[in-house]
Amino acid sequence: MSEALLEVKSLRTVIKDKKRELTVVDGIDFTIGTNEVVALVGESGCGKSMTSLSIMQLLPRVGEIAGGEVRFGGRNLVGLSNREMSSVRGRQIAMIFQEPMTSLNPVLTIGMQMTEAITRHLGVSKSEAITIAEDWLRRVGFPEPSRIRKEYPHRLSGGMRQRVMLAMAMACKPELLIADEPTTALDVTIQAQVLDLIRQLLHETDMSVLFITHDLGVVAEMATRVIVMYAGQIVETADVRTLFTDARHPYTKGLLQSTPRMQGAIEPLVPIPGSVPPAGAFPAGCRFAERCPMAKAECRDRQPELREIGAGHQVRCILI
């Protein structure tokens, strides 16, 4: 594995409301090396977004990092002041979000929204910023960047907006890109375009990516390494090939079995029974035990540890 660019150590994030504190990210550890694409998968509500927002320190008002470290290039980001953080954000770590419809400011032009970040981080003049912006717009596939620059977001389709977001994120040449479900809201043909574009950009730069998705197909296509999350914890992590050929955690297996395929014979789907427990209602022992077809009594009693069972392959299950 290459040298770690991002190192997340026992990160714990809580959501506070008046009465209680919910742990939504519960002791996450992982690293991302240079030019690595790490996919974070898991079903809705498992804490993927909270993890990424914790890294960026962009948690909603009710959220708070309760413990752990986020080391970026050796520096712990947790506890940095807003001011210090603001020069990391966008410059060293860029982020794109799931909803391209709402992530762009509707009343400002594309160009304006791009150049403000460029001038802020690269310290260039306005006209230089415009050149850079147009350059990136061209690179994300707009043949006429000067026209797009003057457009307002609402006049662009979802795919175009997501490409704009991408250009905006890339413009300051960040070392790490966090993409939180960047294609979930898009149609498959457009998703293919965007994924293709990201792959291409990865090829051209030595950027690393934290790719958050719940679509195993996208994972297979994009990632070099995969982290599977369940109920705020990592349950399995492995390189892509291992994960798809030799998944060990029952949850990972369940996910793979319940996903319908486009190829091969049509076999009955094997769903995972039950549903994801909401934060705050996590069972005491193994959080997956209640839905696990292989669960034994002891599973319910004891929290399993994340154990290394092969090179770079960790599983949180006592039965393995």
Binding site: K18, V270, P271, P273, G274, S275, P277, A281, E290, R291
Partner: protein, 294 residues
């Protein structure tokens, strides 16, 4: 059924709170709103039982003891005709609160009917009704109140009529907007595919989901109704003496002699108005957070 469709039973919370209960919890969490609700409740009870509680007949004059300061016999003192202010404030509460509550309830009834029809049926019905709303809305409200109150004589009934006639439009508008958004929710389509009557769809499925902002705005409107009545009183067009309303009590205290010699007299109805409007506002605020579920 096989195990694939078995639900994890542990996950059905046995006694989860019902929506109404939860709304009430949220309302209670807003302390000011909760206290205001109590104050209003007390005021309403006092108003309802005014004849029992009041020590004096509110109309009984004692020209020998005019503008007397508060005392054991007259808790709030007496007015310029020697009438007991406490009794008058109590009876005034009946009038002022009735103006607020009844006119807002009627406003709601009309607003809901018109708003539902316009929002649900759309098209011609909508544009016709909204045209009417537009016309009525574009009247300068206070001017119209002045005109109409001078036309009809300013009795409790007529004031309510006027407040209703020119007060329901905002409710209708608001509700229409709400209904437009609720009616596109899929459960309404689901209801229609069952072949439910429009009436049932509107009243069982749409309205309960659309009404919250209207209730909130109605609460706030109660406050402004009290204010409007007192402003009308200031112009001599409010509830007419000798019937007491907070508005005309305040107005009748607006004389230099009283202001300087009996400052408690204007203060008391002024404070009642202030307190009530404040309570309605806080309650509205509380309702807003109570309805703001999810």
């Amino acid at each position: 059924m096989n195990e694939a469709v078995t639900t994890n039973k542990a996950q059905l919370p046995a006694a989860a709170a019902k929506p109404k209960r939860r709304a009430w919890e949220r309302f209670k969490a807003n302390r000011l709103a909760f206290v205001s609700l109590w104050i209003m409740a007390v005021l309403i009870v006092l108003a309802l039982f005014a004849p029992v509680i009041a020590l004096h007949d509110p109309a009984e004059q004692d020209l020998m003891s005019r503008l007397k300061p508060p005392s054991a016999a007259h808790w709030f003192g007496t007015d310029d005709l020697g009438r007991d202010l406490f009794s008058r404030v109590l009876y005034g509460a009946r009038v002022s609160l009735s103006v607020a509550i009844f006119s807002v309830i009627l406003n709601l009834l009309i607003g809901i009917t018109v708003g539902s029809l316009a929002g649900y049926y759309g098209g011609k019905v909508d544009s016709f009704l909204m045209r009417i709303v537009d016309i009525l809305l574009s009247f300068p409200t206070f001017f119209v109140l002045i005109t109409v109150v001078t036309v009809l004589k300013p009795s409790l009934f007529n004031i309510i009529v006027v407040f209703v006639a020119f007060g329901w439009m905002s409710k209708a508008r608001l509700l229409r907007g709400q209904i437009l958004s609720v009616k596109n929710r899929e459960f309404v389509d689901a209801a229609r595919t069952i072949g439910m009557s429009d009436f049932r769809i509107i009243f069982v499925h749409i309205l309960p989901n659309a009404i919250a902002p209207i209730i909130v705005s109605a609460t706030l409107q109660m406050g402004s109704m009290i204010l409007t009545e007192s402003s009308l009183s200031f112009l001599g067009l409010g509830i007419q003496p000798p019937t007491a309303s907070w508005g005309n009590l305040l107005q009748s205290a607006q004389s230099l002699t009283i202001l300087s010699n009996a400052p408690w007299y204007p203060f008391i109805p002024g404070f009642m108005i202030f307190l009530t409007i404040m309570c309605f506002n806080f309650i509205g605020d509380g309702l807003r957070s109570a309805f703001d579920s999810k």
